[in-house]
Symmetry: C2
Subunit: 176 residues, 2 copies
């Protein structure tokens, strides 16, 4: 739906109608609603794929990998997935950050992601608490690094930014 994102950027998210989005994408309004529950979902197209990729990475980490190492295998996948999508991601972030409802939807999607990672860790035999904490740490690191990454010119730095964020999380939570 890069046609939609162009419309949002040009004329504003609130000002763009579903009829316009559908037309720009060559869909009828009826077909639009077969793919998207509402207008917001246009900006979250691909979030299922992202979750599946991350979950698959956790599931296929070596059996003896620690929980956070399994989560980090998902971070590797994210860096790969987004490498070719830097420009789109930067525009999309500006649209989401300017709209309260979109920010709420984003947070819900991130929590779905954390929930899916948690389940994948539990399936590896990780305890419930460790699974929640490792999944949440992974998603937070992803979220913080993502916000920094879209501000950078070089799209290849995403993985490094994730490592930096994880280091910073460790440093910030270190016992006094």
């Amino acid at each position: 739906m890069s046609a939609a994102i162009t419309l949002f950027e040009q004329q504003g998210y609130d000002e763009t109608t579903i009829a316009e989005i559908a037309e720009a994408a060559g869909l009828t309004k009826r077909t639009f609603f077969r793919y998207f529950a509402d207008k917001r979902e246009v900006l979250f197209n691909g979030s299922e794929e992202l979750i599946e990729l991350w979950v698959a990475a956790v599931a296929s980490a070596p059996p003896d990998a620690r929980p956070m190492a399994a989560v980090s295998a998902g971070l590797d996948q994210m860096a790969d997935l987004f490498l070719e999508r830097h420009e789109y991601a930067a525009i999309r972030s500006r649209i989401v950050n300017a709209n309260q409802e979109l920010q709420e939807r984003e947070l819900i999607k991130l929590q779905s992601l954390a929930g899916a990672i948690k389940m994948a860790l539990i399936a590896r035999g990780v305890s419930l608490n460790a699974a929640i904490l490792a999944a949440q740490a992974g998603v937070t690191v992803f979220h913080v690094a993502f916000a920094r990454w879209v501000e950078q010119d070089d799209p290849t730095v995403f993985r490094r930014l994730m490592d930096e964020s994880l280091d910073e999380l460790r440093s910030v939570t270190a016992a006094a």
Copy 2:
């Protein structure tokens, strides 16, 4: 709104109408909507107070306190706040956990809390990234410990459960 929670527990959240909640609380339906935007909000009454308490604790931590120490001052406040509300919290958790929409609202409230803590840390001079990570760690620890606390018989263990969760977060994110 403990009258409402009793109704939800007795006859189910979905099955309880706003008219019934208002009547049980001695409100007219019109007055109900002056206090609550929708039925869900009945279960999030007090979340503003919780945020204010936590933010005040962060703001009044000693000037040289590290970010996570300032966040932990908020955890102390939460343990005090919830000490007398253990039974209510346990019933409320069962209702929320059984309903997808309520879980989503809960996640949004937790993210509002994280956002408010982040701002309070920034006001202390903490960098944006450290503020996001410390706030998120604090809210995650609170959330995980809360879920364990409502399952316990002894309401005084909440602060200890938070410390254990923070230790577990450190352990889970420790470098291999």
